[in-house]
Symmetry: C2
Amino acid sequence: MDILFDKLIQKYSANQQLSKQTIAEIYTHLSILSFDKKHLLIRENQRHDYAYFIIKGAVRSYYLKDGIEVSTWFAFENDMVGSLHNFRDLPSRETFELTENTSFISINLKSLKSLIYSNVGISNFISAIIEEYAVFLEDKIFYSQLMNSLERYEALLENEPQVLQRIPLTYIASYLGISRETLSRLRSK
Amino acid sequence: MDILFDKLIQKYSANQQLSKQTIAEIYTHLSILSFDKKHLLIRENQRHDYAYFIIKGAVRSYYLKDGIEVSTWFAFENDMVGSLHNFRDLPSRETFELTENTSFISINLKSLKSLIYSNVGISNFISAIIEEYAVFLEDKIFYSQLMNSLERYEALLENEPQVLQRIPLTYIASYLGISRETLSRLRSK
DNA sequence: ATGATTTTGTGACATTTATCAAATGAAATC
DNA sequence: GATTTCATTTGATAAATGTCACAAAATCAT
């Protein structure tokens, strides 16, 4: 269990040496759990006190637009999933659904967040998670403006090959912002 | 000067009470400066140690795509401008150009960043800035997927009327991801 | 295994938007 | 104030993608 937790701690404390006490403190807000494929981890329009770090499995996030699911991302092993809105104590804008049976480290946001004013290590730990997310969002915007659909598909193939292997094309098309038919036609080139 | 600095401090320490010492510490990394319209505050592909808080004026950010400027945002009074890449000690992906004569508070990122491991107030101060930026980016993606061009234009008109008053339509079209001609036609409805 | 469900692919046509060209309008410069 | 530069609008055409309909293929559940 400590080995699993360490992977998470390491990832978001690369720039600092956390004290043994702080690590122990963070541990008390973590636990391990798993759900089956199709389980809804976080639901659109609901408050939720946890974020999750994927040990094994896959998660898709989406929101509804005119009753249609619009996929926003796919997360796998060693990725963090959670809603920034939830972190800010607001209802999530997205639903997070498991596309495989998945096991997680759950992170109690509310209780961990209450410590960021007194523990500088925890403050920087949380900050690193948010910074990583900001970089992810910035890249997403940058590449979506810079590239056309074919280039975006090819970049996904290049940078995130497991998405192509583990996620249905219907969801990928939706993520790329094109129709299933258009993606199918792009692929047959 | 303290009044100007306070506006910045207040904005990003809403959730915590900073000590007098911490505020004084932050002050030593701030100064005031101004440049004329068309000045390039931060340049694409360059490292830069400062972020800026706009006291009076307007800034446009853009990057080059096949030699064409693609506008990414417009900032005004009490907005923060800066490059997350620069904060991470990488070359900026965007250029920041003044569209009006503008005065700023400059923030020395490198020296302030060196304190986030020892001063929890400063860590949370910086974290609040990044969190605000992540929310901004998430909204940008969300609304760009949810709405069509006309709706995005109308939302901009509704939520950021000063953009329409202070920024040329050419730049706005580019920001909305459509051609000048298309924006012109949307407007004539 | 087999029937049901889900996922993927293809054709015909409609819609949106880009692109190119040119005219008009507004602002900056001398 | 005349001239140059930049910004906006309008028209014609082309390209990209969406939508609808349906078929084929793959996957799932019993």
